[in-house]
Symmetry: C2
Subunit: 314 residues, 2 copies
Amino acid sequence: MNRITQLFNIKYPIIQAGMIWSSGWELASAVSNAGGLGLIGSGSMDPQILCEHICKCRAATDKPFGVNIPLIFSYADDFIKIVIEEKVPIVFTSAGNPGKYTAFLKEQGIKVVHVIANVKFAVKCEQLGVDAIVAEGFEAGGHNGREETTTMVLIPMIRKAVSIPLIAAGGIATGRGMLAAMALGAEGVQIGSRFVASEESSAHPAFKQKVIEAKDGDTQLSLKRIMPVRIIKNKFFTEADKMETQGATTEQLSALLGHGRSRKGMFEGDVDDGELEIGQVSGLINEIKPAAKIVEEIMDEYCKAKEALNHQSI
Amino acid sequence: MNRITQLFNIKYPIIQAGMIWSSGWELASAVSNAGGLGLIGSGSMDPQILCEHICKCRAATDKPFGVNIPLIFSYADDFIKIVIEEKVPIVFTSAGNPGKYTAFLKEQGIKVVHVIANVKFAVKCEQLGVDAIVAEGFEAGGHNGREETTTMVLIPMIRKAVSIPLIAAGGIATGRGMLAAMALGAEGVQIGSRFVASEESSAHPAFKQKVIEAKDGDTQLSLKRIMPVRIIKNKFFTEADKMETQGATTEQLSALLGHGRSRKGMFEGDVDDGELEIGQVSGLINEIKPAAKIVEEIMDEYCKAKEALNHQSI
């Protein structure tokens, strides 16, 4: 038991990140049933789809689960209404100003967690009464902070700056990674990439295959002039990177990105022309597994690594 | 005792990085006297200066110390001759091909460690018979790998790929950071930035002041089209960054960099126009201290954090 397991009423302090195109009700309920906290990633849904996923998730688990809402998303207002109507117990907000909905959600009895990548926003979250924060390092997949601070440095910085419960994200896919995060001062971990390559993930099989094939250096933080996003270095990445190197404007890059790139890659399986969001830690992931097995293996390795560390003579 | 303390015959598995302009004999001998391994950073020296530093270091400590030699450096051949003549017991090589000198140095009875940032070079080092490797993450100061893999991800990857002793570098300045590195599978840590801000460091006081003032987001991996280097975001950085954004060529960037930029910043104290190499972890460093005190505090925090982690209920 610690502050994170108590806050969410879960067995293990493992949160499955609410990711676009990968984490619907099947993955979220599987993780919650396994003792972690599953999150529905609403960023690739419309209001009706989100409602369906919440209902199906509730039917598939009697354990707590949550919804991740990217605040820059056009449906954010609708999604806030939906999670209240559907009495979702936990909401993770990201990619936006936590000031907008925190007080309102908390008045409804909803636990609010916000994702940050720097000290300034961590302090702001604490002042706003957010229940916990996810501090996400540079190595994480998908959208990411402009400071480029890595998990190794970010977690101790945030731990020094605020006293609210702290969840580490970015570069964590194993029990050893979880142990390192806890050593740095985190009280729980948010894991994305590892769960993309799960059986219950709604990511396209071709994308999952790319994830388990990825080696070191196969992802990069890209499209920094629009909004930094860590993706696999495929044909689309190479085009964007070439344009950036040649001094392309934000408008030119936005035109290249267009609409539906991430859907095309992650959901429809066009691994050349689609946008494939994944973390550096994909280089440590080699097999697609059931979500429950992933949770079990992480906790098992965590306990063994902790025991081994304790018995080291240094 | 572990493989790293045994290899170097030192008390604590803390290696002070051999950094340009900051780590001469005063710092190296202070760290070695404190129970770590001090390294003379030869990258900013000429052959005569290096000889002087080795002699003075030997006079100042009866403990083992080493020399770091960047292999791309024009004096590399001369420096290899010097460390053999002077019977320096330990050599760290970096920024180049470990195949060039490893066998030769080992024939002379010198322990050889090579700095790497990816799996491919780690495997190569093992095949060449290198005694240990330093795996350095993206968050580290100074020159850095093109893969941009962070310490959190790099250490477990390297641990999986090779079985030789492994030292973690990048983002480590505290006992908690050291504990995280050990949790990830490292057997020792190489620490740079923390020792730049030591009393014995030969860095200019104005540069040390910038290091202790740095906050999150104040450094960035820059000059990627020449050779990636993590520096403080000062006037020089801003000029280089602007040129890169506008699509400058390698030649244009090399012309901007010119010669002596790092000397100007780090040794002469021109903190606006000089190049100030430092890691992200500078954001966790707030005070200039004696090197011995730094070693003592890291080990103290390490032991306490290990004890606390062991007593956590998760």
